[in-house]
């Protein structure tokens, strides 16, 4: 229902504090950041972009924690598989 893409803030427009230039994989667009007034983003922050607006700041610490959990599951699974393979060789 709502295509939201993460992008990195590269610049806040000095003449327009509600406009930021955002980079998505080398593609740039001016994005309205008026919806992030509570905690305006700085260059280097990542935001979620939807229809030309930043909807929310991406919380990098949360992202890391969640990803660690996921990769942990992946690693555990690989170890199990490896153990299975090892035992079947015996």
């Amino acid at each position: 229902m709502c295509l939201g893409i993460p992008g990195e803030v590269v610049e806040i427009r000095p003449d327009r504090p509600d406009i930021a230039t955002v980079d998505v994989s080398g593609v740039r667009r001016a994005i309205n950041i008026g919806l992030l007034d509570e905690r305006p983003p700085h260059p280097g922050d990542w935001v979620l972009i939807h229809v030309g607006f930043a909807l929310s700041l991406i919380d990098e610490a949360e992202a890391r924690a969640a990803l660690d959990f996921l990769t942990g599951i992946g690693r555990a699974y690989d170890d199990e598989l490896a153990a299975l393979r090892a035992s079947s060789i015996d």
């Binding site: 229902m1 709502c2 295509l3 893409i5 992008g7 998505v24 994989s25 080398g26 593609v27 740039r28 667009r29 001016a30 972009i49 939807h50 229809v51 030309g52």
Partner: protein
């Protein structure tokens, strides 16, 4: 409030009826589509299902003949013992000038490429322009100079032409139609219908550059990216490939080449699947896409597989000729990033399947019309 049922028991019953429904759907898809539209819409020009239906219901219906019937990029026929390829193509593009090219070189390369992928050595082009009142003569000069350069690069001459002018507002500045003729060697036999199970599918470089470049160059989306059109003549590349592996009537070699323009690589793959009655199995992570093109596609909700190229082709080659074909393509500047993206299978006939990078499978169908930017 949860329903319990034996998963296994209900599944088989469901699956049987589901496959029954899907069988009926496939049968319906194989029937000739009916043209239901009363007026032309932009979808009819997008190269997808709507275009195919229009061509079939109006043009093929009235003009049917054995040379037209395969709907290849060029018609190949013999005249006086010489095999010739003939093709024509119209070019309408907004804006007329874009990073990496303009309507001029696009018009030359597009027609040269339709000859090249038919296995022809391009000879001569004809060029007809429709100009809109108000077009700056300097712009026209730029366009024609760029045509001249592209023709020189492709080793062809523009030997005849025509000029018409229409009232202001009746054309987008300038429309160009180019027609080309080329010589086809006696031992070259190509066609999408020649693809057979076991063959390999290649693309000659990153996909979608041209479509994204033009989309962004219109300026309506306010998106900037360092991406340029891939418009180029493929004649050198196809001749190098055919020299290396050939395209014999029987025996291993190149089976088919198609340049991926409107509708992108996905459309070409579907044409191959339909023409040969085979399945095309593609590995998503093997398909080369530039990061910027991918970024623009993610942002706009587009699928790069459907985005136009102007200097890329899809090649179907016999499995045993794959390595040689890849080496030949990569030895040419336009093919350095050539990659194997999939293979031809006997099942599912007439369909393109994508093995996703995520480990799943999905269909890659023809689009109805142009891929549209999505917000959803």
């Amino acid at each position: 409030m949860t329903t319990t049922r034996t998963a296994a028991g209900t599944r088989t019953a469901a699956d049987r009826s589901e496959s029954g429904v899907l069988g009926r759907v496939e049968a319906a898809r194989r029937r000739r589509p009916k043209l239901r539209d009363t007026h032309i819409t932009s979808a009819h020009g997008a190269g997808g299902k709507a275009t195919a239906t229009l061509v079939d219901a109006v043009f093929l219906e009235e003009l049917r003949n054995p040379l037209l019937e395969p709907l290849e990029d060029a018609a190949v026929f013999s005249a006086d013992g010489t095999r010739l390829a003939l093709t024509t193509d119209s070019f309408v593009v907004t804006p007329l000038f874009f990073p990496g090219g303009d309507i001029g070189d696009l018009a030359v390369n597009g027609t040269v490429n339709d000859l090249a992928v038919a296995g022809a050595c391009p000879l001569h082009l004809a060029c007809a322009v429709i100009l809109e009142e108000g077009l700056a003569v300097d712009d026209l000069r730029r366009i024609v100079a760029s045509m001249a350069r592209a023709a020189t690069d492709a080793g062809v001459s523009i030997v005849t032409g025509d000029t018409k002018v229409v009232q202001r507002g009746r054309a987008d500045g300038c429309y160009v139609t180019t027609t080309g003729v080329g010589l086809v060697p006696a031992d070259v036999h190509l066609g999408a219908a020649r693809a057979r199970p076991g063959d390999t599918v290649l693309v000659t470089g990153p996909i979608g550059d041209h479509g994204i470049t033009v989309l962004l160059a219109r300026g309506e989306l306010d998106i900037s990216a360092d991406v340029t059109s891939d418009t180029a003549s493929l004649a050198g590349l196809t001749s190098r490939l055919l020299t290396a592996v050939g395209a014999p009537a029987d025996g291993p070699g190149v089976r088919a080449m198609r340049d991926a323009t409107r509708g992108g690589v996905a459309t070409i793959l579907n044409e191959v699947a339909t023409a040969a009655g085979v399945g095309v199995i593609v590995d998503e992570d093997a398909v080369p896409v530039r990061p910027t093109v991918r970024g623009a596609c993610e942002l706009l909700g587009l699928d790069p597989l459907y985005v136009a190229c102007e200097g890329r082709m899809v090649v179907v080659v016999a499995a045993e000729a794959t390595e040689a074909a890849l080496a030949a393509l990569r030895s040419h500047p336009l093919g350095v990033d050539a990659a194997v993206i999939g293979r031809i299978a006997d099942d599912p006939p007439g369909m393109v399947l994508l093995n996703t990078a995520f480990g799943g499978t999905r269909i890659v169908d023809l689009l109805v019309g142009d891929p549209l930017p999505r917000i959803c």
